[in-house]
């Protein structure tokens, strides 16, 4: 890669990063227009040296400046963040172990927060209700040694009757159980990371110029 390509790539990287919190529909449009603008400006330059490119990029402006202009023009304000947002993530993941009320408290904090979008709040609530508790309950199910047992059990947080036939669980049933367990452990952790990243990004945003 030539230095010139490197300079261009760095600029576009910074532009994408700076505009990250602009809604996708508008961000894509703004970036593609700026890229077109740069191409046209380069065509108007006398040569294709690195110096010409740097001049063009200087005139287009600093990505952070473009981003702050975008936030202001598109009326995107910095969300209010507080320690309650962190608590929401912790309770959603682990609150189930304090009793169902712990997880519910996390969900309430999630929905009251200013940080996450409605879509993110739905994901946070549904993946997985109870956080890591369902995985724990699945592990705690009594193992089957071969006799036929029927009794109350909990699968995926729902009370139900669990029956198992004689001869022990089939390899298929075991495979399904292990797969389910992995999903129940991994999914809520991924959700926490996802919500946490949005929260960290919101904390890093520059303060509202109007407030």
């Amino acid at each position: 890669m030539t230095t010139r390509e490197q300079v261009m790539d760095d600029y576009l990287d910074r532009l994408h990063r700076s505009l990250r919190d602009i809604p996708t529909s508008q961000r894509e449009g703004i970036i593609s227009e700026i890229v077109t603008h740069i191409d046209e400006a380069l065509d108007a330059e006398p040569d294709d040296s690195e110096a010409s490119l740097r001049n063009v990029l200087d005139r287009v402006g600093d990505p952070d400046e473009i981003a702050s202009e975008a936030r202001e023009r598109l009326d995107i304000r910095k969300p209010r963040t507080s320690w309650l947002d962190t608590l929401a993530i912790v309770l959603l993941l682990l609150g189930g172990f304090l009793g169902v009320i712990g997880w519910i408290a996390g969900a309430v904090l999630l929905w009251l927060s200013d940080v996450w979008s409605t879509r993110q709040k739905i994901i946070g609530t549904l993946v997985v209700p109870g956080g890591l508790l369902p995985a724990f309950l699945l592990l705690a199910l009594p193992g089957d040694t071969g006799s036929s047992t029927c009794g109350p059990g909990v699968v995926n947080g729902i009370k139900t009757t669990v029956c198992q036939s004689t001869g022990g669980p089939s390899p298929l049933a075991q495979g399904v159980a292990i797969g389910l367990l992995v999903i129940l452990v991994v999914a809520p952790i991924l959700t926490s990371i996802y919500l946490g990243r949005t929260l960290m990004r919101a904390r890093r945003l520059p303060a509202d110029p109007t407030s």
Partner: protein, 112 residues
């Protein structure tokens, strides 16, 4: 002096969108052309890239519309056009602006 610089910057910021609408009054323009013309106006914009978020908002507001047109050289270009909403908004600003300018001129105009 800092407060005054900020005031001037705010006045430019506030009037920039009407300058865009006014440039489109004469006919459709493509973005690059529009941006270069605005940037050429003395002190109107600090950097060319900052105009695109504003164009995006005017588009979302329905004050301008856009169409793609083939260009004689290179890829197709996005042309912007003033909508009737944009025209109305420009007309009402222009009236306010004239009143404001006249009033300030009357008091400050001869103060050199």
């Amino acid at each position: 002096m800092v407060a005054q610089d900020r005031l001037v910057a705010q006045m430019r910021r506030g009037t920039l969108e009407y300058c865009i609408l006014a440039l489109l009054r004469k006919g459709d323009r493509y973005a690059f052309d529009l941006v270069r013309e605005l940037a050429a106006l003395d002190g109107m914009v600090t950097s060319e890239g900052t105009i695109y978020p504003l164009l995006s908002r005017l588009h979302k507001d329905g004050q301008v519309s856009s169409t793609w047109q083939e260009s004689p050289s290179g890829p197709p270009r996005r042309y912007y056009r003033l909508t009737s909403k944009g025209r109305a908004s420009l007309a009402s600003f222009s009236e306010e602006w004239t009143r404001f300018r006249d009033a300030v001129d009357q008091l400050v105009g001869g103060a050199k």
